[in-house]
Amino acid sequence: MLPASQLWLIPALPLVAAAIGAAAPRTARRLPVFLALAAITGSLLLSVVALVGALAAPAAKLTANFTWFVAGSTAVRLGWLLDPLGALMSVMVCAVSVLVFIFSIAYLRADPRLGRFFTCLSLFVAAMLGLLVANSLLLLLLCWELVGLASYLLIGFWFDRPSAAAAAKKAFVITRLGDLGFLLGLLWLFQATGSSLFYDGGAGVLEAGALERLAATVLPGGWTAATGIGLLLFAGAVGKSGQFPLHVWLPDAMEGPTPVSALIHAATMVAAGVFLVARVFPLMAADQGLAAVPVHALTAVAVVGSITALLGAVLAVAQTDMKRVLAYSTVSQLGYMMLAVGVGAWVAAVFHLITHACFKALLFLGSGSVIHAAHHEQDSRRLGGLAGRMRFTYVTFLLGTGALVGLPLVFSGFWSKEAILHAAELWPVSHLPFVAGLTGVVLTAFYMTRLVCETFLGRPRGEGAEHAHESPRVMTLPLAVLAVASVAAGWIGTPAWPWLQSRLTGAPVAAQAWSDGLGLMLFSTVLVGVGIAAGWWMYGRRPRVDARALDPLAQRWPRVFAALAARLWFDELYAATLGRLLRGAAALAAWLERWVWGGVVGLTGRVAETTGEVNRAIDEDGLNTGFDRASDGLRRTAQQYSRAQTGDVQGYLRAVVVGLAVLALLLIWGGVR
């Protein structure tokens, strides 16, 4: 039973590994790897113990708070929180990390900076775990930003490739934009409640007392503080999880090595956003009860989630690069999760998050194994025919696809997606989430089948694919484990046995009767079938032979396909708006600098010159001549006096004596009278 006070050990182990790895000289390649692995397994064990402890008393929020530092008279307090949500997530993260670590040993064996890679990975995992068990929003922000830093380092791991460096910067900047919202939310929270601890024995932010206060404080325009803070925090989540407006960085993040994409951009980091929203769910939900509020926080989340889900799916369809397809698929799945939280089913969201972590990591590692085998060939147009060559990867990839698409009953994806669709269906506010979810299901099925067909079926279209062969055992082992997980993960949360839900919420959940959910399940299975059929029809039937041949979809709807391929020009849009805005402001600043200040200085300079000129004129004719005459007069009078200096000492003495005598006489006569 891991007490709350020892919780910090979980993030500490990988952090220590990262620190030692960083300090180790560059030549030591093996040390950081070994350290990282040892640390992550240690953390896994600890988190399992913590989970057991948490599950024992799901409702109790075991906290260990401490003072970070004292500013003025108020102490800034941080803390660790042990609860089912955090523990479960940390187990999931550790598990996936272990598998990814094992996978990357083989994947990056050739890379000279393997040590540096594992150090960054350990740093990332440490930050992520810190984030999960943090009991204070400030500590969460601290880890949140460290996670951003780690992702920056990892995306830009091959920093000598300019595209990787640009992608890293883009990722960091955009997530930081989101973080601003997070920071403002934190500040507002701090200002409103005076503390940032979630649970602090009644005084915590997420506890009843604070929530009423927040809900009560109404800002002009009807907003309640709770909503405002919630939305601001959600902005941070949007940035980190690549939701609708700030999703552009995620596809570019694929520049990083595939294990990075698998771990960070599939399972863990992007999930942090969802975790954050899940963690502060009570705060977000505080204003549910109030009618007057113009926008409920959760509705906004739901709307953004559904849009993202839809958008991600649509964009994924037109991507040629394997990893980009998976990236957009992640965006869309994250949309689902946000949608779930928006509609109030944060447990479903967490459930989907866990299942998604498993099968998305599997898919990414699968693609990694493909890329590794095909000598870093990522473009699906030049792949194909790998089914025969990489049978094991193909099978595991199929299992992953099944889970992602949500093939019924067997795969975990199905159950978690069902839970979300079920909740969306019941959502009183609007049907947008439900409809988006359904269309998403179809599109997901379509683009996954497209991906599978393009990559694995048909004949190899590039020489990379030509002599691809199965990846070594070290890489295929994690694939197998993940495949099993992506199937088994579903069972913990099926409606029949809602173990997960009861554990997370703490309140026992009655098992659902088969009847009410059945309809929805059937309908979604049908939709999946439609998606797969369409995908097979387009790509599976006559797999393309020539790499340069137009994509069948492009043949049918060229303009639509081109638009989607170009990612709906979001980057250009942003470049146009935000980029230009900033450059414009900077230009303005530079202009200001040169003209206004320079101008002012220049102006004063010119004014000085003119006054100087006028002054010279006055000075020259007016004063100087007069002055010269005066000085001549002075010189002449001086000559008279100089003649008095005859050099005759006795002459001087005489003068002295006379003077003295006269003076004395005056004194005496004056005195006497």
Partner: protein, 168 residues
């Protein structure tokens, strides 16, 4: 008592005035010495014994020798380049002195001088105690001044070896 003092005053004054007026340098120097002797006697008459002898010893013994040596060493050369002193200077000088004399005279005869106290007798021992007591520092300083003056005078007056420093 006043009569005696008046006589002695004359004895002291006449040589002094003569010394200033006489043309011959040696004679004026010797007359000065005589005036100093007269003054020493005057001190004796007034009762300041020790001062008188000290004065005599210093002036007649020491200073007169210095003066005479100076006179001998500065015999004018063959030709006296400058014209004889202009009378204009004499008149100016005398006028100035007359002014001073009138000032002094008027101040002496006008001020009401205090009455005569009983003759204050100062024993030599008392004088010695004063010198050794409060004025010890002054005594040492005077010693210092004398040595410095001695050495200074020597350096100034000693004819510099040709190598040391040329003079016109």
């Amino acid at each position: 008592m006043t009569l005696l003092l008046a006589v002695l005053a004359l004895v002291c004054l006449v040589p002094a005035v003569a010394a200033v007026l006489v043309r011959n340098l040696i004679h004026s120097a010797l007359l000065f010495v005589l005036a100093w002797l007269g003054l020493a006697v005057f001190y004796l008459a007034v009762g300041a014994e020790f001062i008188a002898f000290a004065h005599a010893l210093v002036y007649v013994g020491g200073v007169s020798m210095v003066v005479l040596f100076a006179v001998l060493l500065t015999r004018p050369g063959r030709v006296d380049p400058l014209p004889p002193p202009s009378t204009q200077r004499a008149i100016g000088g005398v006028a100035a002195v007359a002014l001073v004399a009138s000032m002094l005279g008027s101040s002496i005869f006008w001020t009401r001088l205090p009455s005569m106290e009983p003759i204050p007798m100062v024993s030599l021992r008392r004088l010695g105690e004063l010198l050794a007591g409060p004025y010890l520092v002054a005594l040492l300083l005077v010693g210092l001044i004398l040595t410095v003056a001695l050495i200074g005078g020597l350096l100034l007056a000693a004819p510099r070896r040709p190598s040391e420093g040329g003079d016109a």
